[in-house]
Structure formats: C-alpha cells, structure tokens
Symmetry: C2
Subunit: 337 residues, 2 copies
Amino acid sequence: MKDRNKTPTMADIARITGVSPMTVSRAFKSDSRISAETREAILKAAEDLGYVFDSAASSLRSQKTDFVAVTIPSINNANFADTVGGLSEVLASRGMQILLGYTNYDMQEEERLIEQLLRRKPQAIVVTGGKHTPRARKLLENAHIPVIETWDVPAEPIGHYVGFSNALAVREMVDHFVEVGYRKIAFIGGDAGRDTRGSDRRHGFIEAMKAHGLDASRLIAAGTPPISMREGANAMARLLHDLPDTEAVICVSDLSAFGALTECQRRGIAVPQRIAIGGFGDYEIGGISVPTLTTINARAREIGISTGVMILDIVDGVEDIGHVGIEPQLIVRQSSL
Amino acid sequence: MKDRNKTPTMADIARITGVSPMTVSRAFKSDSRISAETREAILKAAEDLGYVFDSAASSLRSQKTDFVAVTIPSINNANFADTVGGLSEVLASRGMQILLGYTNYDMQEEERLIEQLLRRKPQAIVVTGGKHTPRARKLLENAHIPVIETWDVPAEPIGHYVGFSNALAVREMVDHFVEVGYRKIAFIGGDAGRDTRGSDRRHGFIEAMKAHGLDASRLIAAGTPPISMREGANAMARLLHDLPDTEAVICVSDLSAFGALTECQRRGIAVPQRIAIGGFGDYEIGGISVPTLTTINARAREIGISTGVMILDIVDGVEDIGHVGIEPQLIVRQSSL
DNA sequence: ATGAAAGCGCTAACAG
DNA sequence: CTGTTAGCGCTTTCAT
C-alpha cells in the first residue's frame, strides 16, 4: 500500500471502481439501493486505500451532525458517569455520538465549554444542573436545538429537564433520621455558591429541620465543592470539636460521608451508636464500608436513559413531554440505625 | 432579535457590516491585521445575530482541526481522569480540545471508537494501553497522525508512548512485602485476558515472586476487569477460605484492595497484623481508610502532561523524543507494616 | 440502480 | 489593512 501524498477521498474510490462519487457515498449508507457487487467493490477499494470517512465534510453538506453535546461537572464521578453511560447507550442505538466536556464545577468554565460545543452544531445539548451564567443561558436559548438540563428541577427551565429536587431528596433523609429518633442533626457540605446541587441539598436540610421544629444551625462548610473524602474527615473533626453533642450528620455526598466515618474510626467513636451518618448518591463505597452508609440513590443511570429517550423523541418529532421527574430513593443502612 | 429561518453565517455578518467575508473570518482570529473599529463592528454584529462559528466548515477548508482524540477505559476512574485532566490542561494552552471516548475496557469497543474518532480528523490520537485489535492497529498506523500509547510500555509501539511497565511496578511492591518479612503472598486481580494492565500486573507479581524463590501460585481471579470493591471483598473471602495461611495480598487496584480490607473488618481480621494488603493507583481512598493502604502512585497526571507536551512538540516540529518513561512510586502505608 | 451539477461555510492563496 | 477567487469532501437535488 503506497503512501500517496493525499489522504484518499470518495472521489479516489470512485475512480478506482469506475463509478461516480455519488454511488460511493450511497454505498456507505445502509439504506441505499446499490447493487451488492458494486457495494462490495467499493468497500474493498476503501479498505485497500485506508479510506477514512470525513465527517466534517459530511455534516457541512448535510447540515446535520450525529452527535449530542454533554457537559458534566467532573469526569471522575460515579454518578455522572452513570448518567453519561445510560445516555450514551440510548444514543448509540441510533448511531449518535456524545461530545463530552467537563466544567470542573465552575459556571464560567461551563459557559466557555457550551460555546465550544455549540460550534460543532450538535443535535442537542445536555447540561448538568439548572443554573448557568446569563451568557450561557443566552447561548443555549439561541442555539435552536433541544436543551436538556439534568440533575435538577430548574427554577426557570431553558427547555427540557430530567431531574429531581435535591432539596426534597435531602428532606426525605432528614425525615428518616428524625423518625429513628435523632434530633441534634448536623450537615456537612461545601462552601456556598459554587456547586448548586450541594447548595440545594443544604437548603433542603435547613428547611426540613425547621419543618420538624429542630435546630438547623449545625452546618459545617468543608471546602470548595466537590467535597473530598479528606475534607469530609476534616469537617467531622471540626464538628466533633465544636458541637460534641451532635447525634447525627448528613453529608452532601457518600464520599464526604465516608471520610467523616473514617475520622470517627480513628477516634474510636462508634457509628451509628455515638453518631449516625448519612450520605448522598449511593456510591459503591457506601454499600461496602463498615458500617454501610445510609444514602440516597439519585437514579443517575435512569437520568441518562430518560434524557436519551427524550432526545430521540424530539428528533423523531414525537409528542414533546417537556420534562421527566426522577424519584430519588432513600436507602437505609447500618450507619443510621 | 428576529429568528430568521437560517442560522447566520460569516456572509451575513459581512453584508451587515459592509466588509468581505474574508475580513470577517480574519476578525475572529487574533493574529490578523484588522483595524480595531472594523473588528469591533464585526464582533458586535456577530453577537447581535447570535452567530456561532461553524467548525466543520472551518476544518474542512483548512484541513486542520483543533482537537486531539483520546480513548480511556472508563470515564469513572480517578487515574484516567487525572491523565485526561493533565493532558487537557496542556492542550488548552494552545486552544486544542479533547475528543474523549471510553472503551469500557474492551478492545473491540476500542476499535469501533478509534474508527469513529479518526473520522473527525484529529491532530493526534492518544490511547490507553499498548495492546489493540489488529484492525485498530492498522487504523492507527494508517491515520498519518501522531499516535501516543499511554499507561504502558508497548511491546511494539505504534508510534510514541508515555508510560511505565505495570509488571515492574508490581515487582517493587513485592520487593517491599518480602523485605518487611512477608512470604506467603497472594494476588487478587481480574480474570485474564481483558484488562491488559491488570494482566501485566499479575505477570509482574508472578515473576517477582519467582525471583524471590517464593510460591507464586496464590492467585485469585475476582471477575471481569475492572475489579470493583465488592469483587475485591469477595476475592478476599475466597482467599481466606482457600488459603488461610496467606500473610499478605497484593490487589490489582486500590478499589479492590479497599474491598478486601472491608472483608477483613467484617470478619474481625486485623490488617496488617493478621494479613497485609497492598493496592495500586494511589486513589484517594487508600490515603484515608483505616488502616491506610500501601499502594503505587502511577503518576497519572504526569502521564497526561507529558503526553500533551509531546503532542505540542510534534505539532511544532520540535525534535521528536519518541517516548517518555514514567517512574511509578511505591507508597508504604499502614496496611503493610 | 446510478450519475451530473451544485453548494454547504469557511479560509488558503494571491492580489492590491 | 482588505478583497477576490476558488475549493476543501461530501451529499442534496434532479435526471436518467
């Protein structure tokens, strides 16, 4: 196989097989009416030449791409990975690709990312959360493609959304703790203002405590979201020092909850006997730690699947359902009993 | 702002501002010599129209894209996330984007993914590991772009590589265990044949044990890679049952090592007094678990940064260094002392 | 079942 | 500092 100085195009294949470029183009699509022998000859020539389809040219002409843009806060998070996995699987059934970007939990970065992604003219764009910079909002509104916000119930949805109220989900957990008999309950979360899901969870905690007539002021700010295991541990140390009569603590995620648990282990503090712990997200660690962690399963994969189905429905012109409500599920485990 | 039925193009901006399309094009590049007022007028018109740059058209014409294709086994893995993070940061300094795909630890899936990614004509392609299907190899060889294999020292590199020998890294850990005094050492890993880094680690374990004149047959296959915490726990249960005199166990990753640790905790087996544990990857959990886990830091972020620098060097035509060897670092912690 | 012509939106190359 | 011309590789549209 000689290395010609140009990368081969459909025209090259056409020349070799003695057909028109149009026939070559059709041969690569499954639906066309091309004779079996012609197609075979074309595919063989393509293989021999080391031909690679040029999707830029294809989408420029057809004004249609095969991908969906997705922004998530982090590429290293089991919850968002599950959402992307579910979405990816649904879209793959139609040959659509995901164009993934991560915002690092930063709305400015999200704005930059959205602008970049829209330049590729995706069929739809999926973002995490329902809060964005004003310019990001405008970009999304002007994009003239379906916009799906996830992992939240936006105050003012841009278009569609697939999610749940983080505040209400935490309320469920507070209700559980109160029902079991805990009263002096604390919350470990991130510094306010950056991770909006975490902020919503903290607000949900405060509201729920007030609804029970309980003191909602036991709040520990553990650092810039997302809160790491280490930050969870440090926050627990602070909590045990500052508010030693605390009976239970709800953490913004299972990762920080596990960190808090390890701090108790290092100090010989029994969980849940001396202090109960709750997390959020149903990460693998909460199901296997000793003790196991009470948590909330946010149905991350279901969010992705529903989002994918929604996108396909919109593309197909099926009746527009607008949004999908997700029901997070409280999972009671050893750390709160 | 009226919604014209066509999305605006540079030609529209040119018409409105009374310049040629070429001037508009130049105004969007920073390096060009366009008068400040002209540029300002153009940018304002673009903003008003809600113009979005069309990168498909741009890259078709210039035969140049601004992205680098990257395949990683999983989007939910702190090690690979760190590599992508480091790479992304270096590339961003030159306005290059990452086109990310995940293979789910499957070489067939990797092949499909590579084909998809190459259609977008990336400037370079970065893959994880040094083993691929024959067709994937051929696709990479024929792509005529820089190919960088990472996280491995390939037997036959396709082009460049940035990585380390997983086998040698595990040998370091075996040496440590032997030095501390352990002799009956087991290995918990995945079923053979899928995750090549895991296989290499198992081989490294066997070689190292033999080199010390020790029995290298205490091998537990914990399931299809990647091995979860749960599978690590199950494997530890099996190990304790089948080979109860085992003194230490090296796990293919920190996650499985942590799972193994929890199994010991549930059974009241003291770590490291009754059995020592080692992991791999220096995940956050190993630094905070009780006890903390001995592990190997594979310098994931450094792999990404070196890969990025290598790509920029190649693009700039700087002298070609071919490959970068990474030195993983043994981190001795409580679980092996 | 196949072909010819045209053009998607942008920018390289060359002019001035 | 700005404009003109042409064309990247593919697919739409209309023919046959």
